[in-house]
């Protein structure tokens, strides 16, 4: 019985909670983003459906669900159908590894606030991220239309160049954490009493930029590029499949914010873990800290989107190959040197 509860019931409840969390926050985020962009552009944004327009994305979801699913004649049907699912599933799976907080005690049972704590966690995440890109590449390719193809080609080379920078920036964090498990990384920050963003600001900077590029957000949304590519890889998609891509993009945003929080901003730890007179902050549940930091980074994603224009394609490649990757290499070198010398 106890085995049943530990290995079946609790994981299923956790899965349900995480999936609901992702879906609900995606719906809310879409509304917040449109509202925020409206405010920045001196207009109000959607404010008719429900109080302050909060039900706008629910209405949009219903509209997309009931829409006719158009499949153009020339497409490769199997790949065309499966690629939104690839993008969607890979965007959701990685949430299994995000530690939302420390352990909880409910009814005398220890419950961890993460679904899985893999000792290769970070590797798993990076791997699934790379698979998620296939959703975009295959989707654009299977549509057999020139704009989606251009979008997916751009996406392919963009992902190659930014994934290198992303992984390189992580290496210098791993010098300190000495583990690929996300939970261990947070615990390492707890022991060192400092968030990794303060000892690795350059790594954080590179990671964040690469994260924005990985999730296809402005100013790096060249695979979509509404104004030049008519929507890029999802031009030929409509209805539910388009919604899959859309949810996947926003799930990516949430996921990268969560990853930045865990890797560089101490996950569920409270601010200033080394200042004693702030100990009263410990009474606030750790989940709150985690979600607060998450919300902050999601806000920065939106803020960036509302501000900066899209980069040109050669500029995009230049930033990665000429700046981010060399900087990340230098960072690894210097950090490694310091770690060895201090030892």
């Amino acid at each position: 019985m106890s085995i049943f509860i530990d290995f079946v019931l609790i994981p299923i409840i956790k899965i349900l909670v995480i999936v609901t969390f992702v879906f609900v926050s995606v719906l809310i985020l879409i509304w917040i983003e449109r509202r925020f962009q409206g405010f920045v552009q001196s207009r109000l944004g959607p404010n008719r459906v429900g109080p302050q327009g909060i039900l706008q994305s629910v209405a949009d979801a219903i509209k997309l669900l009931t829409k006719e699913d158009v499949i153009p004649n020339q497409v490769d049907r199997f790949i065309f159908n499966i690629s939104p699912i690839i993008a969607f599933v890979t965007a959701l799976v990685v949430f299994a590894l995000i530690p939302f907080g420390a352990e909880l005690n409910i009814f005398g049972r220890k419950i961890t606030l993460y679904l899985a704590d893999l000792n290769i966690g970070l590797l798993f995440i990076i791997g699934f991220n790379s698979i998620g890109v296939f959703g975009i590449i295959l989707g654009g390719w299977a549509a057999k239309s020139k704009y989606p193809l251009l979008g997916s080609l751009r996406s392919a080379s963009q992902m190659i160049s930014y994934e290198v920078a992303l992984i390189m920036s992580l290496v210098s964090v791993l010098f300190f954490s000495r583990s690929l498990s996300l939970v261990e990384i947070v615990k390492a920050q707890q022991e060192m009493k400092v968030w990794f963003a303060f000892i690795q600001p350059l790594a954080f900077f590179i990671f964040f930029i690469a994260g924005v590029a990985e999730s296809n957000r402005l100013p790096f949304d060249l695979p979509e590029a509404e104004s030049e590519l008519v929507g890029g890889f999802h031009t030929e998609y409509s209805g539910m499949k388009f919604a899959f891509y859309f949810v996947a993009e926003f799930a990516h945003v949430i996921f990268f914010s969560a990853l930045v929080t865990v890797l560089f901003f101490g996950g569920w730890l409270r601010p200033f873990p080394n200042v004693d007179w702030l100990n009263f902050l410990d009474y606030i549940p750790p989940v709150f800290w985690f979600l607060g930091k998450l919300a902050f980074f999601v806000f920065i994603f939106m803020w960036i989107r509302a501000t900066w224009p899209r980069y040109r394609y050669d500029q995009l490649e230049m930033i990665s190959w000429k700046w981010l990757i060399p900087l990340a290499l230098v960072n690894i070198f210097i950090t490694g040197l310091i770690v060895i010398l201090v030892k």
Binding site: F39, V40, Q41, S42, L44, W303, I304, T307, W308
Partner: protein
């Protein structure tokens, strides 16, 4: 030179851009919430065409036909008869709103100011026939809302 390098390293220009958007986030919005709020119209606004009467309630229109001649699209048609005082009075006065471009030539041509622009602008209807407007609905009085009623 040093300033330039400093600017490039710390992304000063990009941060300035972020602050501009943040400033506009808090500034006032210029959107008009249309059905609830409406903009104030200028006195010369060209809304619906309306016929007017004088103080005694007689038609100002003397059926001279200047507006018929002035209208570039021939949208106005008048049938008139002489009254007991031997003066021309319009019996029917029809106007096709569906093709009116609000050029105002009829208003300019009218010698008695019988036809003028009003300030009504919500002119959408479900049926084209409703855009043929007859004399009894042309006045700006208690029949105002009946503008689009058929006959």
């Amino acid at each position: 030179m040093i300033k330039k390098i400093f600017k490039k390293i710390f992304l000063i220009d990009l941060i300035k851009g972020l602050l501009v958007t943040l400033k506009y986030f808090f500034l006032g919005k210029i959107t008009v919430q249309y059905p609830e709020q409406k903009l104030k119209l200028q006195p010369r606004f060209r809304g619906l065409l309306r016929l007017y009467k004088d103080e005694e309630g007689n038609d100002l229109c003397i059926a001279c036909g200047q507006c018929i001649r002035a209208c570039p699209d021939s949208l106005i048609s008048i049938y008139s008869e002489r009254g007991p005082d031997k003066k021309l009075r319009p019996i029917t006065w029809t106007f096709n709103l569906s093709r009116c471009m609000f050029c105002g030539l009829c208003v300019e041509a009218c010698p008695t100011n019988a036809i003028r622009f009003s300030h009504e602008y919500e002119l959408a209807v479900y049926d084209r026939k409703k855009l043929y407007i007859h004399k009894k609905n042309m006045y700006l009085d208690e029949n105002t809302k009946k503008y689009f009623e058929e006959n």
